[in-house]
Symmetry: C2
Subunit: 424 residues, 2 copies
């Protein structure tokens, strides 16, 4: 099996101010070709460390993807280290990338500076794949078998996440053209509302009966629930796909209503598909989730087909003035109550004229809790043409995590309501 390593270069990752999202995106791309990522390494802007780490990764993998350290500013030294690693005798200017640099800067109305032009200069040992999305070129270094005991290819990508993702399309093409690859097959089932340990117990008999060459991974996520990912490396694709499907067919009835999708997607995508195909619409009224539910809906391209809008009613005056929650309800039961969240859900459904609506009111923390309503308490309301129902849940987490859990559970309750009412 072809293996790969992903190396991220840059002090900004090591000092913790930037979260490395490139590695997971690159890994997903490599996985799609059946390439197994064996290690991810992050190192600083240190010449010797870059060279020794890359030598080690190249000696253990046929493919090494490097990101970062190519910016125009003075703290980036990756290019110099790659020149030394590949025994370059000098630099050359890549004319195609130079033209792209000029075009990008002029389209942004920026002057072309010397440090921008220098980005089109590359070690004479590399091939260049033009980077259409940014100024730093994609550099490809091919090492002969003598150097590391096997043929090895190093791809150097820009560190800016959307440029790195774009670059991977061209890198995959190059890998396919230059490597003979074995197959991989993954299939993911999405679950929500069951903890990893309980899920493991629930499916233990099934998991214990899996063939040895299949691997099951539990991937918990606050916003999407626990993903169950079943995979096989190698073999004939059609055959392996059928084997995985057969195992999953046995698993589905065990998971029951915990499973919401057999595509690798999210609650909001699943809801969107159901609403779009039924020609129904939804809106949201958010207090404690503060716009997160709306942002999740609208993160999906095409969501305007079913998501009409939302009201973030953070202040009580907005709950009463915009959503029409009666002041007596807030006075008598408080804003974090079944009565308030029901009135919010009905209010926003009426206001926006949607078929369904979802509402939240709770206490994300860190302050604002009481014995009766501790931090982490949320009331969720769902209103439909048939009825309005409310649900109370309590979570333990920090503010960010509570907001995520509130929003995800509201979406899950909305999803179940839609499934029931549309008889899906």
């Amino acid at each position: 099996m072809t293996t790969a390593s992903i190396c991220t270069i840059g002090d900004e990752i090591l000092i913790g101010q930037v979260v490395d999202t490139n590695s997971s995106n690159i890994s997903l791309a490599l996985n799609s070709l059946g390439i197994k990522v064996t290690r991810m390494v992050s190192i600083g802007d240190d010449h010797d460390e870059i060279i020794s780490s890359l030598e080690k990764e190249l000696s253990r993998n046929e493919i090494v993807i490097v990101t970062g350290g190519l910016g125009p500013t003075k703290d980036d030294i990756t290019k110099k280290a790659l020149a030394e690693l590949s025994c370059a005798t000098g630099y050359r200017t890549d004319e195609v990338q130079l033209e792209i640099v000029r075009r990008i800067l002029s389209s942004r109305g920026l002057d072309v500076l010397d440090i921008n032009l220098a980005q089109a200069s590359v070690p004479d040992t590399c091939e260049v794949i033009p980077n259409k999305l940014g100024t730093a070129p994609i550099m490809v270094f091919r090492f002969p078998k003598e150097r590391f005991g096997h043929c090895a290819t190093l791809y150097s990508l820009p560190g800016v996440p959307f440029e790195a993702i774009g670059a991977m399309e061209d890198v995959l093409k190059d890998i396919k053209a230059t490597h003979s690859l074995s197959d991989i097959y993954h299939k993911t089932l999405m679950t929500f509302g069951i903890a990893e340990s309980a899920l493991s117990k629930l499916i233990e008999p099934w998991e214990d009966s899996l063939p040895e060459d299949m691997h099951l991974a539990y991937l918990p996520n606050a916003l999407t629930g626990v993903r169950l990912r079943l995979s096989i490396y190698g073999g004939v694709r059609e055959h392996q796909e059928a084997r995985i499907e057969a195992e999953l067919a046995r698993l589905r009835p065990v998971l029951g209503e915990y499973m919401y999708s057999d595509q690798d997607d999210t609650l909001q995508e699943c809801i969107g598909r159901m609403l779009a195909s039924a020609g129904k619409t939804v809106s949201a009224a958010e207090s404690c989730t503060g716009g997160t539910i709306a942002a999740l809906f609208t993160s999906v391209a095409g969501s305007s087909a079913y998501f009409l809008g939302s009201v973030t009613s953070y202040a009580n005056s907005v709950k009463t003035g915009v959503l029409g929650v009666p002041e007596e309800i807030i006075a008598k039961y408080g804003a974090v109550s079944s009565e308030c969240v029901a009135a919010m859900a009905e209010g926003v459904r009426r206001l926006n004229g949607s078929d369904f609506s979802v509402a939240t009111s709770g206490i994300a923390g860190p302050g604002g809790g009481s014995d009766a309503k501790p931090v982490g308490t949320v009331w969720i309301g769902v209103s439909s043409p048939k009825e309005t129902k409310t649900y109370r849940m309590v979570f333990k987490g920090d503010r960010k995590r509570n907001i995520e859990r509130f929003a995800a559970n509201a979406l899950n309750i909305l999803r179940k309501t839609i499934v029931n009412e549309l008889s899906l």
Copy 2:
């Protein structure tokens, strides 16, 4: 200087389905003690790879932090590898952690399963720091000088992000009690509205004149702009702090209005501070940003003091019906127009009764663009007691990136408006 390495264990990271946020959080925590993180490594759930990688990191660093691979499910094998690495002769049950496991599960209304109880079982070679937030204990392995050429400590943390963050508090206490640490000092200035390369050119004379022992990092982020981080390792804290402040005093006038904060914070925190101290309020009307601006405001604890609420007017019927945008405006100019976004900003300010408001209408993509209004176009409106102004910007990115840029630039324009009108 004390150095550390962070190792993340788990196939879920390597196959790219989970983004590793633990490493950056752990690094921030270690940095606060002046510990330099030299490498971050992610490896799979593979016994031999775990042992060989950890041996290598322990031989190069005094501190190694391991996260992940401790879940109750069958795909986690870290504990077994740690037992072998530390030459354990067996396992013992940690009674304090066992009690926590029972308490957590019962508070969640869950049955206590054998696989949960097994989490309190640890190799007999480790000390345990109880994990109050979850079921997997924090394990501390202390290796004598003979083993790796220097005293080395390995901390094994749970992989669940909020548990890992919580665990680091106790780990820092242990590190302080057992290591003699040198100082580090960082100071960060936040800029927005200037690209990394232009910023580098702008401050080049200042950067070239920095003393050799100071290090400047450029940390670009779509939501917060480019952070400039100046740091020194070692030396006497008070002296180094004064030296950094002196250099930054020379930099501030060069940055001018690009700089929005000398604290390591965000546009929404900066806006929140200004509004809260002036006793003013804000609301938002969002079309293309779909709730992201509201979610950014409400991500800040205490934002209810100044953020009243928002309307996500995704459908035109919500723009007219809820925000009062005249139908003629949408018919004549379209929803993505100066006229529409001005009416949205004024509408939400009137509706919610806020002092300031911000509104967005644009085309995030991938579809929906035209020659006159390409994908990436956004109109931003800001309304204040004094006036309503609108701004047009065009970005090139995918949907997610466009939404982030739209929202961040809207916040930055709002920030400048507040600075001007409140004469801050």
